[in-house]
Amino acid sequence: MAKANVSLGGRDILDLESLSVDEINLVENTAVEMKKIMKRDIKKVPALRGKLIITLFYEPSTRTRTSFETAAKYLGADVINITTGNSSVVKGECLRDTILTLENMGCDGIIMRSPCEGAACYAAQVAKPVIINAGDGAHAHPSQGLLDLFTLREHGIKDLKGKKMVILGDVLFSRVARSNIACWKKFGADIHVAGPRTLMPWDVEALGVTYHARVEDALEGADVIDVLRIQLERQNSGLFPSMREYAREFGLNEARYKLANPGAVVLHPGPMNRGTEISFQMGYHENALIRNEVQNGVAVRMALEFLTLTGGNRIEAID
């Protein structure tokens, strides 16, 4: 269980490298309690009543933004959503001024997504409100890493030590991959990545993983398979010839899944391109925890918002 002296009060959540194992466990354990609230008849507690949370998204998003908003509303916070299409950003306002404007309106927390790596770190230097990084380019997506860990633990994989974790696909452009790797490394997992070399950072081993050019080699004996989304725009960038060939050579299908350990778990951050990086059958496989990830995403984000905005670390403080 979390130690009593661990607190995330006032902390910006920018990446998972900077969270300790105790802090991650605090979030995970708090999320267990949050999930219970989600199952109540009246899904609302006043833990964040009187707090203003603003979601500031410079990229399209359905699940992450909605998930943070839902989480905040379950906790009683006021939520305002800003998407760049209908904000002063289209008038050319820079990030500093946007953030300072929100700060001066009295907001307590900013949930931020940007296509620019480091944008959340920059925002955290600029502003006083808590910044929660909801994805900055290919850098980090800490809440995704935390919800994937939660999903694995909930499924019974409590200890990652020595477990073979395989990440398939576009590691080069994936903040999900980086946050999962950062998290899993802290718990001693054996991490492998596979996919075409063009979709890997050149110095991929610097991530602390083993690279396989062939997906089959990576999947042998895997305990967890995390399939990354192939963004549609990538296929015209010369990185691989076609979605068709990608699916055939690198996609997760039932034949390849059989190479993994029996009962191996499949994760996918969504949204899925069914038939490309993951086959239709695998997307709805009994060991695919993709819908659990979505549900747990709300619980983990409730925990993050609660812990950073109240500084509380006692679960009983929620009600």
Partner: protein, 430 residues
């Protein structure tokens, strides 16, 4: 006007000189050098315990005028040079419009005479608007005083056009300076491709983007016999290629920047936009290779690539920031701290690479304290300790990856044409 510099350690590799002596400056020239000169002067500067060197020449500076004065102008840029101990700057032509015609080039020289605190040499563009499509009027600019030609900031991507440029400049006897980095790779990344970029998820620029282009430039130098100078060499592959080219006797010279000699891509971890530069800060193995290249003469000179930006241009997300930062006011301090006090380079080596060599390579006045030479002098206090504080800079650009760095060694006086333009960090009216 006579100025007597007393009792300094005179370090002048152009004469293989390194001894304590006096120097008399008269009418803008070095009039006399010798031990305990017994002459009268209008002013005596006591240089006891200090190093007296031929004025430092920085061959890679962006003064931003005309057109981008929000970032710098000739006055502020040359004040920064004076403050940093630099007596001559060569300014790059990526202005708006580019320095691609003699009238623009003459205009800069005219303004530099009026507003400049140090000598300004001008580098003309190779192609119109630096677009790499049509040759600029190189002959016209050479006659107006261009010392070299470069499309700095951009690589002349067309092999055919670059070969033509290399042939064409021969009628005017000027070198070409190449900003050697493949444009396609360069426009598709924000930092050095390596372990740090992999971890940060920031798109990287492979070091071979530099090697490939340096190889072509060396091949063109060998083929044509035209002197081609490679700007800001930052990769070990490029150093190797230049070393091989020189061994073949090809007329290639090259420069290293202060930052590529002293910083790695680890500096980018904080997403500080002051670390964005082209070529990017690379990993330690590349820094070691650049140092080795400078030591063995593969790389000839040290420059800053002083590239100031307006504060609001750098106050953005890392990947949105423009490349470049200011360097004129930190170069001497950083070089003395990281290259001299660490024992990597001797003082004569540093003076050679920051003064004598640049003058010799580009046929510039200065770079020597011989009698009759221009009275351009940099006086150093190698022991002075100070901390880099951008708020005190004269340049308009405040972004520097050295912010807060503790330095040992500083230029304490800058003399241009026999007149003191900086003393103890304060820039004086000419």
């Amino acid at each position: 006007m006579k100025l007597l510099i007393k009792n300094g350690r005179v370090v002048d590799p152009s004469q293989k000189l390194d001894e304590v002596m006096d120097l008399l400056l008269e009418d803008g020239k070095i009039a006399k050098a010798g031990k305990k000169l017994n002459v009268s002067a209008d002013r005596t500067y006591d240089a006891t315990g200090k190093v007296v060197a031929p004025g430092f020449i920085d061959m890679h500076v962006h003064l931003r005028e005309p057109g981008v004065e929000a970032k710098e102008n000739i006055e502020t840029g040359t004040m920064a040079a004076a403050a940093g101990g630099i007596t001559t700057v060569a300014c790059m032509p990526n202005t708006k419009p580019a320095i691609h015609s003699s009238i623009i080039l003459s205009g800069i020289k005219e303004r530099a005479r009026e507003y400049g605190y140090v000598n300004v040499q001008v580098i003309g563009a190779i192609t119109m608007d630096e677009e790499g499509k049509a040759l600029a009027e190189i002959g016209d600019m050479a006659k107006a005083g261009a010392i070299a030609f470069s499309d700095d900031g951009k690589y002349v991507q067309s092999n055919r056009l670059f070969l033509n440029a290399a042939k064409y400049v021969q009628s005017f006897g000027k070198p070409i300076i190449s900003h050697s980095i493949d444009q396609e790779f360069n426009n598709d990344g924000y930092m050095h491709e390596g372990a740090v970029s992999a971890q940060l998820g920031v798109k990287g620029i492979p070091s071979i983007a530099e090697d490939i282009t340096v190889a072509r430039d060396c091949i063109v130098a060998g083929y044509t016999g035209t002197h081609i100078h490679i700007a800001h060499v930052a990769s070990k592959g490029a150093v190797d290629i230049i070393r091989q080219a020189k061994a073949k006797g090809w007329p290639v010279t090259a420069e290293a920047t202060v930052h590529h000699l002293t910083l790695t891509d680890e500096a980018c971890r904080s997403f500080d936009t002051a670390t964005r530069v082209s070529p990017p800060l690379r990993s330690q193995d590349h820094v070691d290779a650049v140092r080795e290249g400078l030591k063995d003469g593969t790389l000839d000179i040290i420059v800053t690539d002083h590239a100031p930006h307006a504060p609001h241009h750098k106050d953005v997300e890392f990947t949105k920031a423009p490349n470049g930062f200011c360097g004129l006011e930190t170069s001497v301090g950083v070089v003395l701290t990281d290259l001299y006090h660490t024992g990597l380079f001797t003082l004569p080596e540093i003076v050679d690479k920051m003064s004598c060599k640049p003058a010799a390579l580009f046929g510039l006045p200065g770079g020597t304290l011989k009698e009759g030479a221009p009275a351009d002098i940099t006086i150093l206090d190698t022991e002075k300790e100070w901390t880099v504080d951008p708020d005190k800079f004269y340049t308009k650009g405040k972004a520097t990856p050295y912010k807060g760095k503790h330095c040992k060694g500083k230029a304490v006086a800058t003399i241009v044409g026999g007149q003191i333009v900086m003393e103890d960090g304060v820039v004086c009216k000419k």
